[in-house]
Every structure is written in structure tokens, then in C-alpha cells.
């Protein structure tokens, strides 16, 4: 059973952030890794630039989301700053016809799957529960119940098996979710049936105010082999390592070898959501130490060392980020709330006498507010 870069029980706790597979040091130096190198052998400067661009744009969406919430345009926002490499690196390894099951914080996964500007903000504005058709993006509605989507991914993967295709399903969840029964049951089912599913656990060190040590006394990636699932613990701030690990896991699933598990060790730089106050439960020093491990700066340093980070490139990325931020802002500010009677739509797929009756009554009630016609 494969489990790389994982500590022995006596060595340390789940908080060891350096015993991870890595291809880029925090200073942006490309280093070798015997497990990962072959999975990114094809990554050239253009691909690296693309990953950099994706991460910058994602951070810009995130910054805009926070700003819009502070300005009262959104009810809530779950920041993902610091987690760009994990989200972009893993999601960019997916094929368009693979199916992702993200959690509420995986803004970058929705972005990488083709989400539109409105898809990032309208749910948090309270206009819709989900703004996109999951089948258009091959991405499920972002999940708020912790870990519930891990079982959906496994079930979807069981469907893939029955259809005989080589697609893969992916379950995204956090370190807190690893405590949930659903995630553990998902691993039991995935292992028992050899389902083509990849589990991506984003260990961002904090589940709201609970540190990962409350969830895990041993690296989370170390659990998967106990279910019969090979696992890898990677530097979640290293987009190359995330891409490589995900390609390894997807290849494993596509070849019919069943599930794989990735623990991406990263950090949530902001609050859990805009309603949270992380200064109550974590030190400035801790946050600052992670700022020095920034996933975007790391790729920038690598590109600079390769003379691939010229002014024209920077200007084009900045322009793209500005345009996207403007589009996101416009989507939020120009949102139109749908008519009240539509809240009764789509509760059921087929006619339902109870809902039909309530629609009739509520429609008549609403009509009572219509302006009286001129005599």
C-alpha cells in the first residue's frame, strides 16, 4: 500500500507541515521528488504561466468576494486565500468529463471547471442555492454540510464503473470533514467497490476555530491506507506538487485501480467565513509564517528564475484579473432577485398537490398587493 511522505506515529503530529511531497520550495526553487517528477514532466513554462494566471485570478475573485461582503452586497463569503495551489493544481488535473464534488470553499474548483462570474457570488448573495447547472460544469453544487459530498462522489464513481467509462469522480473536503462519519463511510465504500474516485482533503489547519490537532493526532493521509486506499501527503501551497499528486491519483483511478487519497497541507489565510474572527483563536505569528509560504509568490519566483515572468505577462494577467473582478462585481451588483412565487418551483420534479395548493394560495395573496386598476 502506497503512503508517501507520512510520519510514523511516534515522529510527530498532524501538524508537521514539512513532511510532505514537494516540487517547489517556498523560495520557488524547483526540487526533485522521485514520486512526483514524472507526473509533471510535460509542464513547460507556458503551463506554469497558466497555473500562475489561474491562481492570481482566483485570488482576485476571493478578494472581490470579501470586499463585496464588507460592502453589504453579499451575505457571506468563505475566503480561500492561501489555498489557490491546492484548488488550481488538483482541478487542472481533471478532464472535462470527470465530475467534481466540491465544498463551499472550493471557489477555485468552480473557476477551473468553467464557472461564470455570477456563479461565484450569487449563491452567497442569497439569490440562488446554486447558480450553475452541475451537468454544464460536471461539478456538483458546492456542499455546505461537512463531508456529505464525499459519499456522492463515491456513488457517482460507482455509476462510472457500471457505465464502463474511464471517467473519475473527485471529492473535495477539509481536515474538519475527516472527522465526519460520511467521509469515513465514503472511504469504506470506495475501497470495497474499487470505485474510481479521488479524495482531496484540504488540510488548511483550521476547522473554524478548531485546530487540526483536534481532528487528527496523526497525518490525515495516514488514515487512507487503513481503508485500503493509497495516499499521498503533499505541500498544498505547491501547485506543481498538487498537480502531480492529482495526476497520479487520477491515473490510478482511470486504470481501474480504485480510489486514492491526497492530503494537501496548506493554510487558510483568512477567516473561516466573513462572519468569523480568527484573531480570537490563532496567533499573528502563525499567519505570518504561512504568508512566507505563499503559493502564488512561489510560482512567480520560479518563473522569474526561468526568465518567464516579463512585464508583458504580468500586465496581461493583471488585466485579466481586473476584468474578472469587474465582472464578478457587476454580477453581484446587477443581480435581480427572482419573483416571489418562484420559491415554490422545483421542490418536486413532478406535480405535487400540496405545493400546487400553496402556490395557488400564495399567488392569490401576492396578487392582493398588485396596484388596483384605474377606474
Amino acid at each position: 500500500m502506497t503512503m508517501t511522505h507520512t510520519l510514523t506515529p511516534t515522529a510527530d503530529l498532524a501538524t508537521d507541515i514539512d513532511d510532505v511531497a514537494r516540487l517547489l520550495t517556498p523560495d520557488g526553487e524547483r526540487i526533485a521528488d522521485p514520486e512526483l517528477d514524472r507526473w509533471v514532466a510535460d509542464v513547460d513554462a507556458a503551463t506554469l504561466r497558466g497555473l500562475y494566471r489561474d491562481m492570481v485570478l482566483l485570488r482576485r475573485i476571493d478578494t472581490e468576494g470579501v470586499a463585496l461582503q464588507r460592502q453589504g452586497q453579499l451575505a457571506l463569503w468563505p475566503p480561500c486565500q492561501g489555498q489557490e495551489a491546492t484548488q488550481i493544481g488538483t482541478a487542472r488535473a481533471l478532464r472535462a468529463d470527470d465530475f467534481a464534488f466540491p465544498s463551499y470553499r472550493e471557489t477555485g474548483v468552480v473557476y477551473a471547471r468553467g464557472g461564470k462570474p455570477s456563479d461565484f457570488v450569487l449563491a452567497w448573495r442569497g439569490e440562488e442555492h446554486s447558480t450553475y447547472n452541475p451537468y454544464d460544469l460536471n461539478t456538483a453544487t458546492q456542499q455546505i454540510i461537512i463531508g456529505a459530498q464525499s459519499l456522492h462522489a463515491v456513488g457517482y464513481a460507482m455509476g462510472i464503473q457500471r457505465d464502463g467509462t474511464d471517467q473519475v469522480a473527485v471529492a473535495y473536503f477539509g481536515d474538519g470533514a475527516s472527522s465526519q462519519g460520511d467521509v469515513n463511510e465514503a472511504m469504506v465504500f470506495a475501497s470495497s467497490y474499487g470505485a474510481p474516485v479521488v479524495f482531496v482533503c484540504t488540510n488548511n489547519q483550521w476547522a473554524i476555530s478548531e485546530p487540526v490537532t483536534v481532528q487528527a493526532k496523526f497525518p490525515i493521509a495516514g488514515r487512507a491506507p487503513g481503508f485500503g486506499i493509497p495516499s499521498m501527503r503533499v505541500d498544498g501551497n505547491d501547485v506543481l506538487a498538487c498537480l502531480a499528486a492529482m495526476r497520479w491519483a487520477i491515473d490510478n483511478a482511470r486504470r481501474g485501480n480504485g480510489p486514492a487519497f491526497i492530503e494537501a497541507v496548506t493554510y487558510r489565510m483568512g477567516p473561516h467565513t466573513t462572519s468569523d474572527d480568527p484573531t480570537r483563536y490563532r496567533d499573528k505569528e502563525e499567519v505570518e509564517s504561512w504568508r512566507r509560504r505563499d503559493p502564488i509568490a512561489r510560482v512567480e519566483a520560479l518563473l522569474r528564475s526561468q526568465n518567464e515572468f516579463d512585464e508583458a505577462f504580468v500586465a496581461s494577467v493583471d488585466a485579466d484579473a481586473d476584468a474578472l473582478a469587474a465582472a464578478v462585481r457587476h454580477a453581484a451588483m446587477s443581480a435581480t432577485t427572482r419573483p416571489p412565487l418562484t420559491i415554490l418551483d422545483d421542490v418536486y420534479a413532478e406535480p405535487h398537490s400540496g405545493i400546487d395548493e400553496q402556490r395557488e394560495w400564495f399567488g392569490a395573496y401576492l396578487n392582493g398587493f398588485a396596484p388596483a386598476e384605474e377606474a
Binding site: L151, G181, F189, D346, A349, S353
Partner: protein
Amino acid sequence: MVQLTMAKAINEGLRRAMADDPKVLVMGEDIGKLGGVFRITDGLQSEFGAQRVVDTPLAEAGIMGTAVGLAFRGYRPVVEIQFDGFVYPAFDQIVCQVAKLHYRTRGNVTMPITIRIPWAGGVGAAEHHSESPEAYFVHTSGLRVIAVSNPQDAYVMLRQAIASNDPVVYFEPKRLYHTKGEVDLDVQLADAPPMGLARIAREGEDVTLLTYGSQVATALDAATAAEDDGVSIEVIDLRSISPVDYRTVTASVRKTGRVVVTHEAAREAGVGAELIASVTERCFNYLEAAPQRVTGHDIPYPPAKLEKHHLPDLDRILDAVDRVMDRPNSLSGVLD
């Protein structure tokens, strides 16, 4: 028409649904080689294979959550929860995921999942094996809730549930599994009464007795006994408890002016409370007496040797009939 037990009728319903649609698959604990603890899935795995009759790990949330994923993929899972009291570990997946995904996605994702639950008491079972959790699901928008009472309905409504694009919680009364009845196996679903339609199980003039599933037989016995006392009871088998067919119910209440509801589940905030509230809203001016409930007590399900004191029986139903008929009854002088 053939004579079948309810168990066999459900088995046939599953078999024919699977034969008609390759996207239908059955999953649950012990349903494969064993054929289910009640043998409802007997022979299905040998006929359709382990990919379509899926023996699962013993994990109810896992069964339900993976069914969600299969439905996402276009399958129509029929999930068996081994016993009523074991549905709670799957509760989150049912009420937060199965029930809501269609709504959350503005209708883009359908959850055509049928959740079969061997249900209710009267079989002398151990703790957690005789419960009536239907009110939890009736209270959850996005679910349809069915409780069958005879082999013909069990067969037809199971097939309707599987064919429905909505999730259906389908309650099977354990104590009626071996009750035989006439079943038309070749009935065309398009010709059958819609799944939400109530059935007038016995016509009457004086009292409307509303019930479903496990209590229908007891209610019919009570109606027969009441006839000797000169009281004519109309028994309505609701069949669907979400949605309720209020058209049939109110027509009956407007005729009789008196309502009794009976079910095994506990009384407080139960289906009976909802039925009486709705009937009162719709038919207040027709009522001759305060509607009455005959239910299980507000207790955890008792030990099997005592369950007969919990389950509404013929005499408790007749006592309630006396109340709505303003005849001497157990409450005469007690609550005055």
C-alpha cells in the same frame, strides 16, 4: 390476478422495475445472497447480478449518500433500510441531500431514489426494530412519503415510486408482509390510480376514519365491529401521507362530519396532528365533534411484551368513535 403475499408482491415489483429499466438498481445490507432479512429481494441478485443488486457495507449514511451519487449519474437506486429504527444514521443524507438537491439546483438534478423501509411494530421485535418515523419525512419538503397496506398497492406503488423522478420514502408494514391478496402484476402504470391518491377502503356515513399502512387492517376491523353498534364508519387508506389527498378526505368529512385518525406513531406532532389541523381548516363548519386521534403513546417504542399496550387496537379506535359520536367513552367525566 394472482394471490401473493405483500412480500412477494414487492419482490415482483422490484424484479419488473429492474427488467424494464437498466438504470434501476437495488442496494442495501444483506439484500444479495440472503435476499434481505425479510427475503424481499430474494433471487434478484442471481437474476440481475451484483452490479445491480448491491450488497453494501453496514453503513446507512453510506448507502444513502452513494445512492445520491448514483442518481447524479442517472441511475434510479432503490435503497433498502434494514429496519425503521436504523434510518436515523442516514437522516442527514435523506433530508439535506436527497430531499433538497432538485430544489438547490433549480431542477437540473433529479433524485429518483426510492427508500424502502420495513416499518412499524406488532411483530415482537427487538429494540429499534418497530419504529414509526414517518413524521420526520412528512415534515421534509422534497420527499414523497408512501405507506402501503395491501399486496396490490405495494406492487403498484413501488413501481410508481421507482418510476417517479422524485425521491420516495416507501414504508412497508412488517406485520403485513405475509398477508395475501389479489395482485394484478400486468397492470399498466399509466392506468393505475396516481401514487398520491387515497383509497376509500370501506364506505360509511357517520364517521371518517383516516389511517394508512399498518393500521388499515385494524381500522377495517373496527369499522366492522362498529356496524354491530349501529355506527357506519368510512375508512380511508391514505396510501400517500405526503402529499395527502385532501380532495378525497374532505369529501368524506363533509359527508360524515366526524373524524378519527389512527396511526402507530407517537401522538405529538405526528401525522395525525397534521391531518386533523388540515381537516379542521378545510371542514370546520361541517364538523359535528372535535376530531380524535388514536395513536401510539408519546414514549420510545416499548419492549415487545408490552407493545400491545402501545399499538392502537380495535377497542381504542372504537373508544374514539364513541367520543366523536358523543357516546359514553373512556374520557367521559375524565377531562370535563
